[in-house]
């Protein structure tokens, strides 16, 4: 065990998973992740490029992936907005990109799960609640990306990036053999008639069977349906007889779990669901928890985004009510006063007792 900042632990976990290439552009609160890759990857025989823009960072990762290397990029949601065109196409090129979003709060739920890019594409989205789980899910991200030849996004935030915890980072082996990267390019096949093409367009080299764009897109859509059916990860507790169920993800999910556990000890019939994969969303777990419940609360640090997926899971079984909200520090980058055990407890109890929600706490506006 070693005391590490979350950013360092995530970078170390990526390196433990065999990540050989990283490119990024500094942006709070993602910057320290880039710093750790820049410091550590060369020691490991890898490459970290301080790209001149997010557009270039994702392009560089694309090239590294095409050679079969494990490669990643990242930013905050704002920087990821710039990368979306490439994310769409990398998904269509079936390249196993790992993306880190060290987000400013939870405002990027839509971006992560719907995407800001074009076309029918999906990323697996893993949302760790703390640094030990981030270490595990970062390694899982590389595994799943290779397993499905599909981008995987790790949703972090200011708290994960900047707090320290004692963690053990060592390589994790996951079940199941990964498919061979028989599509990767090394330049050795030129002039043999067997050269390879890594393309999002659904075309193959002349003379070889080519699915064409329609069949290619349908194939990817079928793959996404399979991921959706098999890769859901979720934690829930106390839901069997719960009158009130609270859904929350990431570090706020850990706060909610703590509050609900406390209230259970006091005899309140409250349960929680913590989605670990945001896509595929644990629709069935949410539906099961809502069965028999009187109300479902959604605690998220944004105006209300995941609540849409919760409603799709609950499907009218119970009213779904947002009990979170926008809360930032004075800079807009960090954690606001809403992420506080006492404040969350008051809001959960107000919902549970059908009382009006307390007003949102304001930050002190100082930088």
């Amino acid at each position: 065990m070693k005391l590490m900042e979350g950013s360092e632990a995530i970078a170390e976990a990526a390196i433990a998973a065999g990540c050989q290439f990283f490119a990024g552009y500094p942006m709070t609160p993602f910057t320290e992740l880039l710093e750790h890759f820049a410091k550590r990857l060369p020691d490991e025989g890898g490459v970290c490029i301080n790209a001149e823009s997010e557009l270039e960072a994702v392009g560089m990762a694309w090239g590294a992936l095409a050679t079969g290397a494990r490669a990643a990029t990242g930013s905050t949601g704002q920087g990821l907005s710039l990368m979306q065109e490439s994310f769409s196409e990398i998904t269509l090129a079936e390249l196993p990109l790992v993306i880190f979003n060290m987000a400013r709060g939870q405002q990027d739920y839509y971006q992560s799960t719907r995407g800001g890019g074009h076309g029918d594409y999906r990323h697996i989205v893993l949302a760790p609640m703390d640094i030990p789980e981030a270490v595990e899910l970062t390694q899982l991200a590389f595994h799943l990306a290779d397993k499905w030849r599909n981008p995987v996004l790790v949703y972090g935030d200011y708290l994960l990036a900047h707090t320290h915890e004692a963690v053990n980072v060592s390589p994790i082996s996951f079940d199941g053999e990964l498919p061979a990267k028989d599509w990767a390019l090394d330049g050795s096949l030129g002039g043999t008639g067997q050269s390879r093409l890594v393309s999002p367009l659904g075309f193959e080299k002349t003379g070889r069977e080519s699915p064409g764009i329609e069949a290619h897109l349908r194939g990817i859509s079928a793959k996404h349906a399979e991921i959706s059916a098999t890769e859901v990860r979720v934690e829930s507790g106390y839901c069997d007889d719960a009158e009130t169920v609270i859904v929350a993800f990431g570090p706020p999910g850990k706060f909610v779990r703590y509050v609900v556990t406390q209230l259970r000890a006091e005899g309140e019939k409250i349960g929680y669901v913590r989605p670990i994969t945001l896509w595929p969303f644990p629709t069935e777990a949410v539906a099961a928890a809502a069965d028999g419940a009187t109300r479902v609360g959604v605690f998220e640090l944004c105006a209300g985004q995941m609540i849409d997926d919760v409603r799709l899971g609950v499907l009218g079984r119970a009213p779904v009510i947002g009990i979170g909200g926008i809360s930032t520090d004075g800079s807009g980058f960090g954690v606001g006063p809403l992420l506080d055990v006492e404040i969350i407890r008051d809001r959960v109890l107000a919902l549970h007792r059908d009382l009006p929600l307390p007003s949102l706490p304001d930050n002190d506006r100082s930088f």
Binding site: Q20, F21, A23, V47, I49, A51, E52, S53, L55, E56, A57, V58, G59, M60, A61, W62, G63, A64, L65, A66, T67, A69, A71, E85, S86, E89, A93, L185, D186, G187, S188, L189, G190, G191, T192, G193, S195, R196, L197, V198, S199, P200, L201, F203, E204, K205, T206, G207, S210
Partner: protein, 283 residues
């Protein structure tokens, strides 16, 4: 059988080693296949076929991604130099080149190629410059020259309204990371041969690990220029060729200005005329 008395003599292989088929989707009179031939033949001639990875942008030339017999990454419009950077950094012993048009490189992806050059990225970027978006049907790009008519500059490019063209080769030559920069053309046999030499020098620069190399090739686009096919080469010389001056813009760290290259070209043309007057170059 042909009706001519002259015996036909095969003077060269028609299909380059690195093309899977001679078939392509380009319009009649397009200069891109000629430029691509120069590039691919240089790779085979230098014995690089089995260590080269290509990265293609989006334009008419994208259809060659399927027919080029090299490992190839299909990139987005504008993004090829970054993708090539990722490839090269993972496989430093490979030879990596990009293929982009002027819309792709000088409009959409200008910063990518400049940054790759400034980093001295040990790759070769190839620009097929015809001064228009050929694929969309002849629209103005950042290299369209003043007075050139396009579908969105119908009366000709006007500096006061559309701004000035970017001379990308000249710009890249200024960057310290750029080791070799040249601008060729394919509008006549002499320039095709000269351009082939530029490709070879660019790849040799990369083989020696000297840094960024750049070959711009002026290509005909009679369809996008709205002129008869046969007029393509002359139009190219009179419009693009007068502004984007052909020649080696940077060799061994020495930058040659547009004015120098122009003077060299005038001298060469005069020598050529004299030689022809004497009865040909071999006379």
């Amino acid at each position: 059988m042909t009706s001519t008395n002259t015996e036909l003599k095969v003077i060269g292989q028609q299909l380059p080693d690195l093309l899977l088929t001679a078939h392509h989707h380009m319009c009649a009179g397009c200069g891109e296949p000629l430029a691509l031939r120069g590039c691919l033949e240089s790779i085979s001639d230098l014995g690089l076929s089995q260590r080269t990875i290509a990265v293609a942008g989006i334009g008419c030339y994208t259809s060659f991604s399927m027919t080029t017999d090299l490992d190839l990454v299909q990139a987005l419009h504008g993004r090829a130099p970054s993708v090539a950077t990722g490839v090269k950094r993972m496989l430093p012993d490979s030879i990596v080149y990009t293929l982009q048009g002027d819309g792709d490189m000088v409009n959409e992806g200008l910063q990518e190629v400049l940054h790759a050059a400034a980093r001295g990225e040990n790759i070769t970027c190839v620009l097929l410059n015809n001064g228009v978006f050929g694929e969309t049907g002849g629209h103005m790009t950042a290299t369209t020259v003043l007075g050139q008519r396009t579908k969105n500059s119908l009366e000709g490019r006007d500096a006061t309204y559309h701004g000035f063209p970017i001379l990308i080769g000249d710009l890249i030559a200024q960057l310290e990371g750029a080791a070799y920069v040249a601008r060729g053309s394919v509008h006549n046999a002499g320039s095709v041969a000269r351009t082939a030499k530029m490709f070879r020098r660019a790849f040799e620069t990369q083989m020696r690990g000297e840094g960024f190399s750049f070959v711009e090739v002026l290509t005909m686009c009679p369809t996008g220029w709205f002129i008869p096919t046969i007029e393509g080469p002359q139009y190219m010389q009179d419009t693009l060729g007068e502004v984007h001056i052909m020649g080696e813009l940077k060799v061994d760290g020495v930058i040659h200005t547009t004015e120098e290259l122009h003077a060299q070209n005038v001298l060469k043309a005069a020598e050529m005329e004299k030689a022809l007057a004497r009865g040909g170059i071999d006379a």
